[in-house]
């Protein structure tokens, strides 16, 4: 029954397309004109400035490292009054301030994730033009649920991981394209009430970025 529909659908597509030029497919695909911007043009300082502006535009808050990441994290968490945070299994231990309580995510339940103040992770890269961070599913950056259920997310971003354009990001992600990827642009929001962006629905309602 199911395989019947499969062959029926595929043969209907073949009949509709009336062409057997399958050998031409790759050449035709390669001929698609991609005249849009693929390489950014900003220098490091301007790219960082753009990222800063775009992150703020969507209600994320950027912080700049003083060089001592551990005390940077301590200061941000103190300012937000967050004490108990979940961290990915392989998050660097020497970045963890002693005054907060960190729980390594080794298969925490959904309810346990719901009980912490926030989550602390790194990311794969960031996109300046859109104010986006990209988080991959890995032992260093955690499971998808860990950056979703807690109400607060602090993400450490290396300035050298910021690209300018979306195509630059997609091309860098090519090597990990089979992993679950999450693009995050500001705290969760909705535009469903009169098309006005309201911050904070189901995902973290506060997003802080520590730039190192």
């Amino acid at each position: 029954m199911i395989s019947d529909s499969r062959s029926a659908i595929l043969s209907r597509i073949r009949a509709a397309n009336k062409l057997a030029a399958t050998a031409e497919r790759e050449r035709e695909y390669g001929a698609v004109a991609r005249d849009y911007r693929i390489q950014g043009s900003l220098n490091d300082a301007d790219r960082l400035h753009l990222f800063d502006e775009r992150i703020r535009h969507y209600n994320g808050t950027p912080f700049y490292s003083t060089g001592d990441i551990k005390s940077d994290i301590a200061a941000i968490l103190a300012r937000r009054s967050k004490h108990t945070l979940v961290i990915p299994a392989e998050f660097p231990s020497d970045w963890l301030p002693e005054e907060c309580h960190f729980i390594r995510d080794e298969n925490l339940t959904k309810q346990q994730l719901d009980g912490v103040d926030g989550v602390l992770t790194t990311c794969t890269l960031a996109i300046a033009l859109t104010g986006t961070i990209v988080v991959e599913s890995s032992s260093a950056q955690g499971r998808r649920a860990a950056t979703l259920i807690p109400d607060y997310h602090l993400c450490v971003v290396r300035q050298s991981d910021i690209v300018e354009l979306v195509p630059e990001a997609i091309r860098r992600l090519e090597r990990i394209k089979h992993r679950p990827l999450t693009f995050i642009s500001g705290p969760s929001a909705t535009v469903d009430i009169e098309m006005t962006r309201v911050r904070g629905v189901h995902g973290p309602r506060t997003l802080d970025i520590l730039l190192i």
Binding site: I2, S5, R6, A8, I9, R12, I13, A15, A16, N17, T22, Y29, V32, A33, R34, D35, Y36, R37, I38, R54, H57, Y58, N107, K110, Q111, D114, I127, G131, T132, S137, R143, R144, A145, L148, V166, I170, R171, K177, H178, R179, P180, L181, T182, F183, I184, S185, G186, S188, A189, V191, D192, I193, E194, M195, T196, V198, G200, V201, H202, G203
Partner: protein, 484 residues
Amino acid sequence: MSIHVGNAETARPFPDAARAALDDAQLRTNVRNATNIIQAKRNNMTAELADWEALRNAAHAIKTHTLRYLDVYLEQFEANVTREGGKVHWAADADEANQIIARIIADRGGKEVIKVKTMTSNEVRLNECLEAQGITPIETDLADLIVQLGNQDPSHIVVPALHINRTQIRDIFRSKLPLHELGIEDLTDDPSQLAEAARLYLRHKFLTVDIGISGANFAVADTGAIVLVESEGNGRMCLTLPDVLITLVGIEKIVPTFRDLEVFLQALPRSATGERMNPYNSIWTGIAPGDGPTEFHVVLLDNGRTDVLANGEGREALNCIRCGACLNVCPVYHQTGGHAYGSVYQGPIGAIITPQLQSLEHSRTLPFASSLCGACYDVCPVKINIPEILIYLRGQIIRENQRTVAGKFDLENMAMQAMALVFASSGVMTTAEAIAKLAQNSFVHDGVIDSLPAILSGWTNSRDLMPIPEQSFRQWWSQRRKEQ
């Protein structure tokens, strides 16, 4: 085959439904306010990209190419999903898709499912089917939740509750949500309070329901990935927290490669909600051990799409990425809102998709629900020539009508046939002009024709007609040539 597009087959003809919508002043205000906001945002976001046209061209080329080799890309997609631990099902029509999904849920003893907004599930009427089998579908997108709690139909493909304002939403929440249990005492119409109420209400469901259902914005052939674009995080909840995830995908949602996302992840958010990027994009392939569901099903849906594909003139409608920009810019949609279209796909794109999916057997008034101004084509991020397809579909419908006896003797058809004869010969045309000039005299008031009798009153009901002038252009032209 049982092809269904929501309840389109039993919907009222557009002119009847539109008349009712036009009488609803509140509805028109809500629609106008929301579409004005979203249009302004979209215009800013596309204007700031110097390469916007190049992105549109690439998006159009990629989609057109994909349709030409859709069979190859679907097989690639299937092989990659399977390799990554997912299971692919093929559904020829709405009923088959519903049966497949209901069986997966029933086999696992599911009583409740959490859903991310999917217009495709509205197309196949999945919720009705699940409810009939004792399974409760819980919509988790804020707008879908509002529409579901309010027992309404979605009126916009991106913002289903666009026709409802904040005060109306507050009233729906006050009457349908267990606010007291949620610890909310005095709910106002402040949007952040309304969003907070939805957050509290749904959180328990997210943490406890074991089966999730989603749609897909894109399905990537070369990796087997599904891409889901959203704002609230309800999508991420539904696709990562349950043990079982079922994703319903129209076969036209395929893109060839991961790289193509560099085009569509720019084109879609800027067109849909007027954002540089929406808050969350999720990309996942099959099962990821230790992260998310342990069981993943993809249901590939035809439901009339291969018929559209076989239509050389109309197939371009399948390029649609469901951004809704054509609705927001359409002068007809502005006046009527979405319900008048009688379909889960409204506005200009709905007017070409809904009738085509049903082989033009239903929704035959929709291709006429347009002024053909072309604004929809201008904003379309994949450059679908909607006006051209509207005209083509009108032609098909009229030619089909002419083949019936009633259609042949239809007044409008006879008038059009007579006009065709007149326009075909300059002698007949000159005579006809002379007769018309005499005949119009009794209808001209203050230099315009403001009221015509019988069938012709349709034109003058809402606008004046200029009378035929003393001298026609053709007369002026031949006189000028004689004088030279």
